[in-house]
Symmetry: C2
Subunit: 387 residues, 2 copies
C-alpha cells in the first residue's frame, strides 16, 4: 500500500465515520451505529472506497485495544467482581441458549451435524468491542448493567475460544480432545486472573517508572506499551488481545496516574477506533440482503429463524442476572451484538468449507441485525428504566 | 504482517526508543538522538529486531506529518515571512555549496558525470523532520533561528524535488526537460502559497464545523483529517506530505481552537513519531562503518571528504542569514541533518545503479554523521549564545 492510498483511505474513513456518527447522534443513537453504517457504505458491496488492507486492519485492532484500555481505566475490578455471579450466569446462558436454538433449527433443516454445530456456535459470541463502545457512548459504562454486560462479554470470549477449538477439532479429525480444550480454557482464565492480580500488586511500579522519566510522552507511551504487552500476551494465549488490553486498563486504574492516562489516551483512541468500526461495517457483503432476488429467499428465511434464535438466546441470558434492581432487559439487549467476532467465525466457516455460501449469507444477516439493533434497543432500555 | 508480530514490533520500538531517548536526555542531548540510535540498534545491522514493514513505515510517515502539524500549530506565518529572505538565502546557499563541493570532489576522484551530480545532490537536502524535532526538544522552535531553519528546510525540500527530477531525467534520457522541472517547482510553490493563503482566509469555517459537532473526538479527528488532506494533496504534487502537514498546522494556528488542537494532538504525535525515527535509524547499514576492515578504507576516505563538503556547505548557508542578531552558527548547524531525505536519495541511487555499493556506503556514513551531529551541536550552539 502506497502512502498516497493509505492517506486517502484514512481521509475517507474519518470523513464518512464522522458524518454518519454525527447523524446517528443527531437522531439520538449511539455514534458507533453511524460508524458501522459508514463502513457498510464505503465497503466493497456499495461504494468500494475502502479496502480491508493490512495496515488499516492492524490499526483497527490497536484501536479496539485502546477502547478496552479506556474501559478498564474507567472501571474498577471491585464492581466487576461484585457482579461476578450474574456475569457468569449471563455468559453461560448466553452461550448455551443461542447455541441450542441455532443447532436445533439447523438440524431441523437437515444440515449436517458439523454444520449445525458451527451455525449454533456462530450465534454465541457477543462482540466486546461493540458492547463496550455503545455503553461508552450512552455513558452507562459504570452502571451495574454495564459491568455485567462487559464481564459477561469477556467470559463469552473465552467460551467462544473453547467452542472454536472444539469445532476445529471436529472438522479436522472428527474427534474432540477434551484435554486440549480444558487446557486452553484453563490457561486463558489463569492468564486473566494472574495479569490482573499481579498487575495490581505491582501497579505502583508503573508510577515510579513514569516519575523517573523526563522526556515528552512518558505517560502515554508507557501506558500504551503496557497495554500492547498484555494484548500481545493474550494473543499468544490465543485469547482476543482486547481482553489483555482490558486487563491492562484495570491495572492502570489502580495507579496514581489513572486520570492523566485517561486524558492522554482519549485522543489516541479517537484516532484509531473509527478505523475498526468502519472496517467491521465494510466487511459486510450486502448481496444476500436483497429480498427482490428470489435466490435470496431461502437465505432470508434461514436468517429469520437464526435471528430469532440469536436474539431470544441473549435476552434469555439477561434473565440470568442475580439481584432485584438489575435491568434484565438492558443486560440482554447489551449482549446482542455479534459484530466482528461473528464475522470472523462465519468467514472461517466459509473458507474451510464447513458452511455453504447461503448459510454464510444467513449468518451475515443475523450478525448485522443484532449488531445494529443493540445500540438502538440499549438506549431505549436504559431510558425507559429512567436511569 | 500478523497482529502478533505487529504488536511485538511496536513494543520493541517503544521500549527501545524510550530507554535511549531518556538516556540521551539524561546526558543533555535531544531525545531524538536516542531514538535514532535505538533504531540503529534494533535494525537489521545490529539486533535485527525491527523490520521495515509496510504498516510501520506508513505509521511513521503519518507520525512526521503530525510532528509538522504541531510545528505549524506552534508557529505563525508572520514570523516565517519575516525571516523569508534569510531562509531563501540559507536554502539556496545550503543547496548550492554542498552540491558544488560534493560534485567537485567526486569529479576529482574520477567518478562519472552522472555519479558526481548524484553524489553532490544527495548532500543537499536537509531533513525537515529531524531539524523540527530537535528544535522542539530544545524548545527553540519559536526563535528567529528556529524559524529560519524550518523555512529553509521546507524550501530545501522543494529544491530537492527539482534536483531529483533533473537527475532522474539525466539518468533516464540523458537530457533534462527544463520545462518539466520549472513546472514541478512552480506547482509546488503555488500549492504551498495557495494552501496557506486560502486556508487562513477560510480558517474560521474549521471552527464553525467543529462547533456544530457533538460526538467525541470532533476536534482531534477534524484537525487530523484536514492535515491528512493537505498532506495527500502535497503527495499528489510530489512534494513531501509533511510540507502539506506544516501548511495545515499554520492554517489551524489561526483558528480559535488552536490551543485545544495542540493539547489533543500531542499524545497522538507521541504515539506515532518514535516509529518514524526508529525506522530511520534502522535503515542504516553499519557494515561500511567498520574501520578495521581494509575494504572499507576507500569508503571511509570518500566519506570523510564528502562529510567535510556536507558540513561546510550547510555552515556556509548559515552565513547567508540577513540581520545582525541572528546566531549564524546555530542556523548552519540546524541545517546539517540529512536524515531520511538523504537515505531515500542514496537508496534510489543504489537501486537504479547510478552509484556503486562503496559510494552508497560513503553517503550513508555522511548522512548518519550529519544527522547525529546536528542535535549535539545545535544544543551547544544555542546554549553558548546564552539564549
Amino acid at each position: 500500500m502506497e502512502l498516497k492510498d493509505f492517506l486517502w483511505s484514512l481521509i475517507t474513513i474519518y470523513v464518512c465515520a464522522r458524518v454518519m456518527g454525527e447523524l446517528a447522534a443527531r437522531i439520538g443513537q449511539s455514534a458507533v451505529l453511524g460508524e458501522l453504517l459508514a463502513g457498510v457504505l464505503v465497503g466493497g458491496s456499495v461504494l468500494g472506497w475502502v479496502e480491508q488492507t493490512e495496515p488499516l486492519k492492524l490499526l483497527g485492532e490497536v484501536g479496539v485495544m485502546l477502547l478496552l484500555l479506556e474501559v478498564g481505566l474507567e472501571s474498577d475490578l471491585q464492581s466487576f467482581l461484585r457482579v461476578g455471579w450474574s456475569a457468569a450466569l449471563v455468559a453461560i446462558i448466553g452461550v448455551v441458549t443461542p447455541f441450542g436454538l441455532g443447532y436445533g433449527l439447523a438440524v431441523g433443516l437437515h444440515m449436517s451435524q458439523l454444520q449445525a454445530i458451527f451455525v449454533g456456535a456462530t450465534l454465541t459470541a457477543t462482540s466486546v468491542a461493540i458492547s463496550a463502545r455503545v455503553l461508552f457512548d450512552l455513558g452507562k459504562l459504570k452502571t451495574a448493567e454495564g459491568n455485567i454486560i462487559l464481564a459477561a462479554a469477556v467470559l463469552d470470549d473465552i467460551l467462544g475460544l473453547v467452542t472454536l477449538s472444539v469445532i476445529v477439532g471436529l472438522a479436522e479429525s472428527g474427534t474432540v480432545s477434551w484435554l486440549d480444550v480444558g487446557r486452553t480454557a484453563g490457561l486463558s482464565v489463569l492468564f486473566l486472573t494472574l495479569a490482573i492480580l499481579v498487575g495490581i500488586r505491582y501497579a505502583h511500579l508503573f508510577s515510579r517508572l513514569v516519575n523517573r522519566m523526563h522526556t515528552r510522552g512518558r505517560l502515554v507511551i508507557t501506558a500504551l506499551t503496557f497495554t500492547l504487552l498484555l494484548g500481545y500476551a493474550a494473543e499468544v494465549m490465543q485469547i482476543a488481545p482486547l481482553v489483555g488490553a482490558l486487563a491492562a486498563g484495570l491495572v492502570l486504574a489502580r495507579t496514581e496516574h489513572q486520570g492523566h492516562i485517561g486524558e492522554r489516551i482519549k485522543p489516541v483512541t479517537d484516532v484509531f477506533v473509527p478505523i475498526f468500526f468502519v472496517l467491521v461495517g465494510a466487511a459486510v457483503d450486502l448481496r444476500y440482503f436483497n429480498p427482490f432476488h428470489p435466490e435470496n429467499w431461502p437465505v432470508l428465511l434461514l436468517a429469520g429463524g437464526l435471528a430469532v434464535a440469536a436474539v431470544t438466546g441473549k435476552l434469555a441470558a439477561g434473565l440470568g442476572t442475580v439481584g432485584g434492581t438489575i435491568n434484565r432487559w438492558a443486560v440482554g439487549v447489551g449482549m446482542l451484538p455479534r459484530g466482528e467476532v461473528g464475522l470472523i467465525f462465519a468467514s472461517v466457516g466459509l473458507s474451510r468449507g464447513i458452511i455453504t455460501q447461503g448459510e454464510y449469507g444467513a449468518l451475515l444477516i443475523v450478525i448485522v441485525l443484532t449488531t445494529l439493533l443493540s445500540p438502538m434497543l440499549l438506549k431505549r432500555a436504559f431510558s425507559e428504566a429512567g436511569r
